[in-house]
């Protein structure tokens, strides 16, 4: 298989399989998780301003008072890499085009130099996060193989995408193919790993918000 | 119907601007000029091989200025060899028969090689002269 065939495979059957497994996984997992149901809370509710599931979904995107100071690396690094990923994935021209091809929606893109810079910053943040995971006793203690693996699976698409556009190490075609492949691996891994938090965190925050809002506590 | 009435107005797309690749060339030229003085060895910079934007080239041309000598060569299209304000530093541009720029150099030499007549060509010329003389 030469590199163009490899690229074509990743853009064709590879993508199909990856998106397929991704959709399969997402639907299966979401149904599996959320149909477990829960009991109705029979206690008389107390209403309070700012306390609801939806409030929590949004509010939990900001660090609670005092936490930023306690864990600056987790928060700042986490912000940078999540926002960076979002910028790259949703505002990079080729990605918008992919999304447009898959779902028909499109919007303006950001300059590619900016995306390139964002990728560097994102990768730096991810490396810092990795170092933090190695250095911080709690994180190291909690980390399993899955944590290292998902880090790599998330890091590789950014790295390969950046290297492809910067023409580093391998010819663009090969790098692009590797980039797409790594993104496909990410898609495949996502529903079956902690990366699924991208989906469930909304449910989790909502549940947390609901449970506490019942008692009148905005969380 | 003619196109004479069509005014051409070229708007470059977001002028790439200066890359900062041009200033170091001046230092390189200085080295080359010194070498020319010391050893007599000519040298050249191939401008098309460098990542220079039109703005860079303009900057460079502007800095080097115009000198006293301009040579035009008609061979497979026009070539121009302009001495810059620094004697010994020549801006050489080759065009093809269609007038498109095919290559661009800065040469550092007392006289660029290209300008000098080659003995072999001179020999051919002498033959021609002989022919003219014999016809007198």
């Amino acid at each position: 298989m030469n590199e163009l065939e490899f690229l074509t495979w990743t853009r064709g059957p590879g993508l199909d399989i990856a998106v397929g497994i991704f959709l399969l996984g997402v639907l299966w997992r979401l149904i599996e998780i959320y149909t477990l149901g829960r009991k109705k809370d029979l206690a008389a509710p107390r209403h309070a301003a700012g306390a609801s599931g939806l409030h929590t979904v949004f509010r939990r995107s900001l660090p609670p008072p005092g936490m930023l100071k306690r864990s600056p690396v987790s928060y700042i690094g986490g912000y940078i890499f999540h926002i960076g990923l979002a910028i790259i994935v949703f505002l990079g021209a080729p990605h918008i085009l992919l999304i447009q091809n898959l779902v028909g929606l499109s919007w303006p893109s950001l300059p590619s130099q900016f995306i390139g810079l964002t990728a560097v910053v994102t990768m730096a943040a991810m490396v810092v996060m990795l170092a933090d995971r190695i250095n911080k006793p709690v994180k190291r203690f909690l980390s399993t193989f899955e944590d290292w693996f998902t880090w790599a699976v998330t890091f590789l698409p950014v790295l390969t995408g950046w290297m492809a556009t910067q023409h580093l190490l391998l010819p663009y075609t090969q790098m692009l193919a590797l980039h797409i492949l790594s993104a496909e691996i990410l898609l495949v891994v996502l529903p079956f790993s902690k990366l699924f938090h991208g989906f469930t965190l909304f449910g989790s925050r909502w549940y947390n918000g609901r449970v506490n809002a019942h008692k009148g506590v905005p969380v | 119907m003619s196109l004479d009435s069509i005014p051409i107005h070229v708007v470059p797309p977001g002028e790439p601007g200066l890359t900062g690749n041009a200033p170091p060339l001046l230092r390189e030229l200085l080295e080359m000029v010194r070498r020319l003085l010391e050893t007599g060895e000519p040298s050249a910079i191939d401008l098309s091989a460098l990542p220079l934007t039109p703005a860079d080239l303009d900057w460079l041309r502007d800095k080097l200025g115009a000198g006293e000598i301009s040579v035009t060569l008609q061979a497979n299209g026009e070539s121009t060899l302009n001495e810059t304000a620094c004697p010994g530093v020549w801006w050489v541009t080759h065009h093809n028969e269609q007038g498109a720029v095919t290559s661009q150099f800065i040469e550092v030499a007392f006289v660029p090689d290209l300008v000098k007549a080659h003995p072999q060509d001179v020999e051919i010329g002498s033959g021609y002269l002989e022919l003219l003389v014999s016809d007198l």
């Binding site: - | 005014p7 070229v10 977001g14």
Partner: protein, 595 residues
Amino acid sequence: MTTAQRVVVDPITRIEGHLRIEAETDASGKITHAYSAGTMVRGIEIILRGRDPRDAWAFAQRICGVCTLVHGIASVRSVEDALHRAIPSYSIPHNAELIRNLMIAAQYVHDHVMHFYHLHALDWVDVVSALKADPKATSTLAQSISGYSKSSPGYFADVQKRVKTFVEQGQLGIFANAYWGHPAYKLPPEANLMAVAHYLDALAWQRDVVKLHTIFGGKNPHPNFVVGGVPSAISVQPGAGQGGPHYRGGQDATALNVVGLETIQNVIRQMREFVDQVYVPDTLAIAGFYKDWAGRGEGLGNFLSFGDLPSKGFWDTDSYLIPRGVILNRDLSKIHPIDLDADSEIQEFVSHSWYKYSQGDAQGLHPFKGETELHYTGPKPPYEQLDVDKKYSWLKSPRWQGKSMEVGPLARVLMLYATGNAQAKELVGYTLKTLDVPVDALFSTLGRTAARTLESKILADAMQGWYDQLIANIKAGDIRTFNEQYWEPSTWPKHMQGVGLMEAPRGGLSHWIVIDDGKISNYQAVVPSTWNAGPRDAQGQPGAYEAALQDNHVMQDPKQPIEILRTIHSFDPCIACAVHVTDPDGEELVQVKIK
């Protein structure tokens, strides 16, 4: 003597592709039977299956790199026709049509000139003889036939010197081993020298005039096309009463800007100049020495033209510059209409072709139902001779109402002449008068070559009109070049079929496409050289090459089959040609078969 000879010519050089001619002669050297075999196949029709119809042109275009544009156009037209049949409102912008016309015509003029000077001329022009010419006399000759600027004695002396140096060096390269000195060469040395000079001139000229394709299509060979129009957006915007259009966009935007338009105007001027001052005069001058060739090489006498160069859209055949129709048995008084969709009209046979039809090889198939399944049954290479009673070619045998047809410049000029095109009538009349030959002379090897020259003139002149219209449209504010509606195959009906017709330089070309679910389910290209060079059909009717060679060809020296080359080249084969006596060892030239 009952000795018959079989002359096998393979490869035929100075053509496009791989062609083999096997001819049987009687004892006098006269060709009694000729067999034309295409010996190369790539299976592009097979490769096209299942692909995006919008991509098809690029594949189809690679059928030929000489008439590099025609398959691309035919292919995009086939898809557009399928869309038009399904959605009658579908059409392409007028500018796109004008640009396509300009590209097609430029291809004709370019191709015909190159064919004449670089592929065909050496059959008539003896390069070695040119060395003996007097440059001064050559100059006089040149000035007597044309006002072409390059006609000084010094100019011809220079060319002669250059060729002489070359010959003296002893490395003749592409001019080595030709039939120089063959008695069939009849031009005086001066005419030979003039032709050689123009051979070189034409090489330089053709390099420049292809720029028209480069501007519209990005490159030549193989310029780019697009279903629904042309890819080259016009980077000129009409001025709002400010004195004409303005250039738009950055860094030259697209090639089709004011500078590009000016280049195109120059190309048209150059083309008309060269055709008027060099090509037409040379053809007439050379033909004057070969009038005997007005009496042989006719072949079928049946001519087919699909017509081309529309002014009101591909689907308005009345607006075509070159009309559509069929001429049977030299009868110019009656033009037969062509029914594209009737199963019985256009068919391809494979009785003598290395293909297999699922319902048996005897019947013909309409291209919409056409099949392409490679089925080689010939001898295992290396071979010396093909079994012409069985299958012997990679070309199919297309037929119209069961009849063999000749396509190409002669068919077109006859069609123009028969339908009363004024310019054609005038040019044909002038030619016949100049050469002092009857109208019948058109049906010959010479007529075919002359027809090519004449239609070059007609098209070069027409180009100026299309160009002026394009400029007028731009000035009037119409700069549309592409119809983006129905661009996405997802918007297409589930099943469609269409035919892209055009007149290629070498004749009527048709691409037949069947589209299911936005993908190609069948693709059949019936190309000019299939009509002309195709083998015998089930009824044993020969193709145009075969018929033409069987018409009054006596070979002076079977080892030097220049007669075969002249007639075959007069068709301008598009199969890469080299007539060549089969000779695996390089010694035995002729195979003699005892009948």
